[in-house]
Symmetry: C2
Subunit: 381 residues, 2 copies
């Protein structure tokens, strides 16, 4: 019997996307053996890096090699599967997309045009997060649903800004919409509730969810000033050149909104979260806290108040003996309180970019399992 | 369309079984609405408490009420579903079981006879744990598989002693075998790996998994002697009259074997675990540890060594700043190290008997979902 194929369109080609490509290369044989499926990346849009498309599957080994040398997305004409000539030449498709882009005068047409033409089964949204409106990721997802593509988003913007509407869109069209990696990388938090806590209702949650601020606070406990800690976070790659989205609590607020939307069935936006960042915390306050055997952590919280979901992000003092005081540097924790199982916490220790890639990979395997079940149910076995 | 029925045979009627009955009463409507299924408990064996059977469904409200008054399992003749007369009278079935019991001269025939006659869909194994051989629970499960019943075990004995063989038996017969509640109550640990960490391989694990010893150590940190702490644990219901199975590390060893068998695909028995309990720990050692800002915890560990699974249970010193030092009293933690997701920890805080009942309930819902998928796949939709 012929193996099944899953054609993937990737929007974005940053660190996580490249780590995902490496993981897909490593795991190709295992997926083939275990899931009877070949995952083919057929289209990638990398904004300034260009776009590539090959309906027979892009040779990821070659692509990564070329990218490392040139910083550009480029593929040669030879399709990656031997004996199967490419049905669409990349050059003509790129020209077509470029033409549409100029016609529509839309800077974003690169990604949208690619989603329109790629004829993939799933779109993976990996574009740069715009925390203040969730765009252009939301438009990418709408376009993918329009073209009957399943969607996996690693970008938390759409979950933080527009989860209920996008979920309903997916459901209407019978498409799968997955987002495990948007909070705590590949650590299962949404799937923990959905797949393992059947019949449990989440009543509230709290967590330490922004690694940049947690790293900065840990560095300050070791004696650094706030600005020294920020510079060290930037040097280690945990903080952006402009660290304000993390430091002011916006990233934590987006995660809080995302979790509230999924686990509390809320319809919050990051701007609805009561938010205090760590920008006002001084080295002196940290020293005083340490002398008092306390730590300051940027806490995210969500709960129901008279039928309405409430989210907040604020610095909180924890005694050294508290569980939350042991979550240092880039580690993170989420605690959920449920009606039937009381309080459960899950901790991710010292994640690297590979753990982000794993989250997306895990969603891909979930998609393969879900579509296999649904095709059996529809008699396509 | 007629709702589906799931007929349940319960072996054992201790605290967890009774909490499960209460939960099934509370959730009957919700299950009916969400899963299109009515869960009917049709047979219960309670060893010295007697056995009851009603193929139309035992009235659990009445049963619990009578049990609270008399300490015996008793039901009246009226079936719980109006308009459907009982096809087998309890009296005649009980007589038949009693007859077989005397013929076979087997003290255990009560439970085995009931499994033989109950014609249920699933057997829930809740009998008293025998940590030194996993019996009679293993025989109950074998009998259930023989009679084509799915099995949910809340009893860790069979998982700690005979997991691979029992799993293979279930698979051969196309039956479901679930055991989430055997370690850390309803906290998902086996399902965490099976349902949410697709494609991840568990390389090793560690945890604080025995609440009795953890409670005793926490009491000793507050100033109690070992024997005072044991008495307090007994008074609060955390320790047996003979506390040696907990204190000597046998319960922790059984959990370590169970986790190794499931998550490391091992074939260990509790007697294969390198085991040191807390019986030798003095109040003086605890005081010295506290003075040194350390805590002693009974740690369970499992890992692979040259292709072989190794399990150990031993007291370990942790600095106050360590995550494991914050897991006090009856709380528990499991950390797993995986190839793709690094280290993830999951924590259960202050569980009560309701969290054990939830674990079994969660397995029942998993069973309903799995059999629904399989009947769709077999065209029985």
């Amino acid at each position: 019997m012929a193996k099944k194929q899953l054609k993937v369109c990737m929007i974005g080609f940053g660190h996580a996307a490249r780590a995902l490509c490496r993981l897909l290369l490593d795991k190709a044989e295992e997926i083939y053996a275990e899931y009877d499926t070949e995952i083919l990346v057929t289209a990638i849009s990398g904004r300034s890096k260009g776009s590539v498309m090959n309906p027979s599957g892009i040779d990821l080994e070659e692509l990564l090699c070329t990218y490392n040398l040139t910083g550009k997305l480029q593929i040669t004409g030879t399709p990656s599967i031997k004996g199967m000539p490419s049905t669409v030449s990349e050059t003509s498709t790129e020209m077509q997309i470029a033409k549409e882009a100029s016609l529509k005068n839309d800077l974003d047409i690169g990604a949208l045009g690619l989603i329109d033409h790629c004829e993939a089964d799933v779109m993976i949204e990996l574009s740069t997060l715009s925390i203040m409106d969730g765009q252009p990721a939301i438009r990418h997802i709408e376009k993918a649903f329009d073209r009957e593509l399943h969607v996996i988003t690693a970008n938390k913007g759409p979950i933080a800004w527009d989860f209920q509407r996008l979920s309903a869109l997916a459901q209407e069209r019978g498409l799968v919409f997955l987002y495990e990696t948007t909070v705590m990388d590949g650590t299962p938090i949404f799937n923990l509730v959905k797949e393992t806590l059947h019949g449990c209702k989440v009543l509230s949650f709290k967590g330490i969810l922004n690694s940049t601020t947690n790293f900065i606070l840990t560095e300050m406990e070791k004696g650094s000033s706030f600005s020294e800690a920020v510079i060290e976070a930037q040097r280690r790659g945990f903080a952006e050149a402009d660290p304000s989205m993390d430091v002011d609590g916006w990233d934590a607020a987006a995660k809080t909104a995302a979790i509230a939307n999924v686990l509390l069935s809320a319809n919050l936006r990051p701007t609805d979260i009561r938010r205090t960042g760590i920008e006002g915390i001084t080295a002196e306050e940290i020293r005083a806290a340490r002398a008092d055997h306390k730590k300051i952590k940027l806490l995210c919280e969500g709960y129901m108040d008279q039928g309405h979901a409430v989210g907040l992000v604020h610095p909180v003092y924890f005694p050294d003996s508290a569980l939350y005081s042991t979550i240092d540097a880039t580690s993170s924790i989420l605690s959920i309180t449920t009606d039937l199982m009381g309080e459960i916490s899950i901790i991710e220790k010292d994640p690297e970019i590979e753990q982000t890639a794993y989250g997306i990979y895990s969603d891909l395997l979930t998609l393969i399992k879900m579509t296999a079940i649904s095709s059996v149910a529809h008699g396509e076995a």
